[in-house]
Amino acid sequence: MAFREEEHIQSFSRRAIVIGILQFLGLGILASRLAWLQISQGSKYKTLSDKNRINIRMIAPLRGEIVDRFGVPLAVNVQNYRALIVPEQTENLKDSLKKLQKYISLSEEMIERIIKESKKKKKFVPLYVKEDLTWEEVAKIEVNLPDLPGLLIDEGETRNYPYVESTAHVIGYVRAVSQEELTGDPVLTLPGFKVGKTGIEKVFDLDMRGRAGAVQEEVNVHGRAVRELGKKPMESGKRVALSIDGELQRFVQDALSEHKSASAVVMDAYNGAVYAMASHPSFDPNMFVKGIPQDVWQSMLNDPTLPQTNKALAGQYPPGSTFKMITALAGLEAGIINSKTTVNCLGSFKLGRGKFHCWKKHGHGWMNLTTALQQSCDTYFYDMAVEVGIKRISEMAKRFGLGEELGFEIKEEKSGLIPDEEWIASRLGKKWQPGDTVNATIGQGYILATPLQLAVMTARLVNGGFSVRPWITGYVGDKYKGADQWPKIEVSGQYLKMVMNGMDAAVNTKKGTAYSSRILNENVGLMAGKTGTAQVQSITAEQRRLGLQNKDLPWKQRHHALFVGYAPVGKPRYVCSVVVEHGVGGSSAAAPLASKILEHVQIRDPASTRIHSFEISKPHTGKDTENKTFGPFLPLKRTVE
């Protein structure tokens, strides 16, 4: 028994030692695994752990401002108050938003949008509820904060347009980023980030956007920031300085507003700088920044006067009598007319079986080029139509910038239309008729032009025949974008002088169609110009017999009223085009507006001031010669004598 007991103990000892060895072996494995993880894998896991806990949070860049040529801000960033809500801190997001409706106006669709957004984001991420809170709303929320758990008031930057509707079409507006606009730039995904949708805001969106800054934050597993580790400041976007004069722009916009629908362009005859470009009716661009109510948006879309469209660029109208200068130049160049050519106007012109009426029923009598332009006699131009031919007319029109896009910065511009035989064959499948040419001589028929093109045409007529093109951007950041020199057009200065005489007579002589609109202010120069009344539909024989007044027709059937002009008469600097949609008569509706505008632009005299550059102290580079080359009213390039 004792022996077996001894044997038993020995057996136990052996086996216990086996277990003990296994235990220590196990600990050895653990220790070596730990050493492997912490020594040879240490650096690998170190980077992994840093990646785990460091989060990069972007800081929205400040959008570059837009200023006018004097440095007056047209688009700025203003501090605003916005309401944010943290879903995690609310008992029920929807209930909290409903409660909020008691204090601020919040539509059902906005609530739905927020709830939809909340499902895509983590519960602690604040969501935008409403921007641009008024002081009253902020106060109401602050007072009731205990009742509104999860609600925050945040201060941020938002775009504001101090000139409101005056600059709406030119400047455009910014709006929240849409799904299609997500280009991969991470800044676009920032809550509340906005991009330019129209106008200059769109053209220079990337320049003005700037670069986002970043904050390196230590985060916990939920992505919540615990500590800031590092910061890279954001870079503001570039400032854009335009060639326009904000005050003039506002003046023009106000002037247009006496009509239902109108547009106007004021530009420099020599360098092409646009001083004002207005389209009426307009809208409040700030509304788009805040988020436009659905009903307002719908009514804008359905408005026949197209408040959203920049009609100065995109409105295409038959130029009517404003086109007569082109016809005259074509006739002069072809040698079909000269300064002594006279035509007896009897009120109408017969071509084959067709009869073409002059606007003056009983005729103007004997007309020469100057008086034909002065009194806008149609017959004078009808008479040369067949001999000159559409080819010469359309070719001349194209030299003056009609029928083509002018390469303006704002891409909304339309090309207008200058027809010829090829065009009518390819587009309408018709043969060009001599009667079509007769219509074309007075800017009717197929011809279409935009107000911008009419202004450019006028500029090229009066600057001595330089092919100026319009531009509106002076500086982007510190880079000059304007233009000063333009190549010469092949046209005789003498012919231009003859046409300008006619335009002078049209405004400043008693029989002139725009005599009643001449500038009476003796402190500024006189203006010259040409009226235009463009038929929207042909006048029926019935109407002609009844002597029905055009102004008694429904608005949509009334004639368009146009005027192109320049000032001062002797030393042209400013050109202006005005189109009043269905304004009945060029002399009654458009000329008075142009007169007001050309008077005011001379008072403001924007051409005498260089565009406000970002670094004033920086000496001017040779390219920015806008002011050195041309003093006010003293164009060096004038060749017209």
Binding site: R4, V18, I19, L27, L30, R33, L34, I39
Partner: protein, 374 residues
């Protein structure tokens, strides 16, 4: 008979002097590491974990000393009561228990959530030790003698598997097998058992719960789903590895403090410790644990009766299995099974179970000369 009388007549103070104070010191040292880690887990705060853990430790220490000084014959006699009581509790939780973690595992006693499976591990060791206590080597070599031990082991294993708690059932089997091995059962039995287990794995796979399968699968390739089921292992490895040799420093464990580490106060406490204290800290803790193993080994060897030998070494094996399973799990050596690190992890039951176990081990030491009769 008289010697037994004398032995049992030791008064309480003499018994206290006989306690293994070295082992107590080691236990205190390991627990202190746990408390430091818990303080850090709470972001440098004694609340909510470290303070409560300390209270539990104090209670557990008292229980341990009480268990140690109570006559070993008392525990011997109480064995079956404890064993069947434990089985009863397992049945009880199976029938009417709280639903937690997808398994019914505890009884809420108000002050503590008692996990009968923890109790059962000790009970199985006690029962096996008692069964083999009086057996001669010849008896143990007979395969028929091993039927009862097999039943002692498999009855709780079956109940724990029903919960279902694969990790605990495997641990009971391993501890049980360890004691049967120590008692002298034929070696071929174990070799055969290991082979049989290997062959039965594909069959057992069919019976695993979906989450258990997933755990095994992600263990085999944790990076396959770093944000899903493999998240725990990946994050734990990152924490350990980024700790490096010197560690990130006290309260500087970014992984754990920023909550990347799951269950940092319970199952992943070792990770937190080794992230902040590095390889040095990790090896210190492993070293202390090794000393505890060694101490228990010595107690078992010095014990003069089989009951004490089996009990002490069985309980030490139970403790060391916990340590292996927990630490291998956090280091990505085995799948995540959800086992705490005894004495270190936050948790009342595991603390109490571990200290009661050490109480019994010390009891074996205090009463090593006792004559324990069948």
């Amino acid at each position: 008979m008289s010697q037994m009388f004398i032995q049992s007549d030791h008064n309480i103070f003499r018994k206290l002097l006989l306690l293994n104070w070295g082992l107590v010191a080691l236990i205190m040292a390991v627990t202190s590491i746990g408390l430091i880690a818990l303080y850090s887990a709470a972001g440098g705060n004694v609340d909510p974990w470290a303070s409560r853990q300390f209270v539990r430790f104090c209670i557990g220490l008292t229980v341990m000393v009480c268990v140690a000084v109570i006559d070993i014959k008392f525990w011997y006699k109480l064995t079956w009561l404890i064993y069947f009581g434990g089985l009863g509790l397992l049945v009880f939780v199976e029938i009417k228990g709280h639903v937690g973690m997808g398994a019914q595992r505890w009884i809420d006693l108000g002050f503590i959530k008692l996990q009968p499976s923890e109790l059962m591990k000790i009970a199985v060791v006690l029962a096996l030790a008692r069964h083999f206590h009086g057996a001669s080597l010849g008896q143990v070599k007979r395969i028929t003698f091993l039927i009862i031990p097999a039943m002692i082991i498999l009855a709780p294993v079956a109940l724990v598997l029903l919960q279902p708690d694969l990790g605990t059932s495997l641990m009971i089997i391993m501890v049980g097998a360890g004691i049967v091995f120590m008692a002298g059962a034929p070696v071929w039995l174990f070799i055969g058992g290991i082979i049989a287990t290997g062959l039965s794995i594909p069959v057992a796979w069919q019976f695993l719960h979906e989450y258990q399968k997933k755990r095994v699968m992600t263990f085999l390739n944790p990076e396959s789903d770093p944000l899903g089921a493999g998240y725990h292992i990946t994050q734990s490895k990152i924490a350990l590895g980024s700790g490096g040799i010197e560690g990130k420093g006290f309260l500087q464990g970014t992984q754990s403090r920023l909550n990347f580490l799951p269950e940092k106060q319970t199952d992943f406490i070792f990770t937190l410790w080794a992230e902040e204290w590095g390889l040095f800290g990790g090896l210190l803790l492993l070293g202390l644990l090794a000393m505890i193993f060694g101490y228990c080994f010595r107690i078992a060897f010095r014990c003069k009766h089989n009951f004490g030998r089996y009990l002490a070494l069985g309980l030490s094996l139970n403790f060391s299995l916990y340590v292996f399973i927990n630490i291998s799990m956090v280091m990505g050596l085995i799948p995540v099974v959800g086992a705490p690190l005894p004495l270190v992890s936050y948790g009342g039951t595991s603390m109490l179970a571990a200290l009661s176990g050490f109480g019994l081990i010390m009891c074996c030491h205090v009463h090593r000369h006792s004559k324990v009769t069948r």
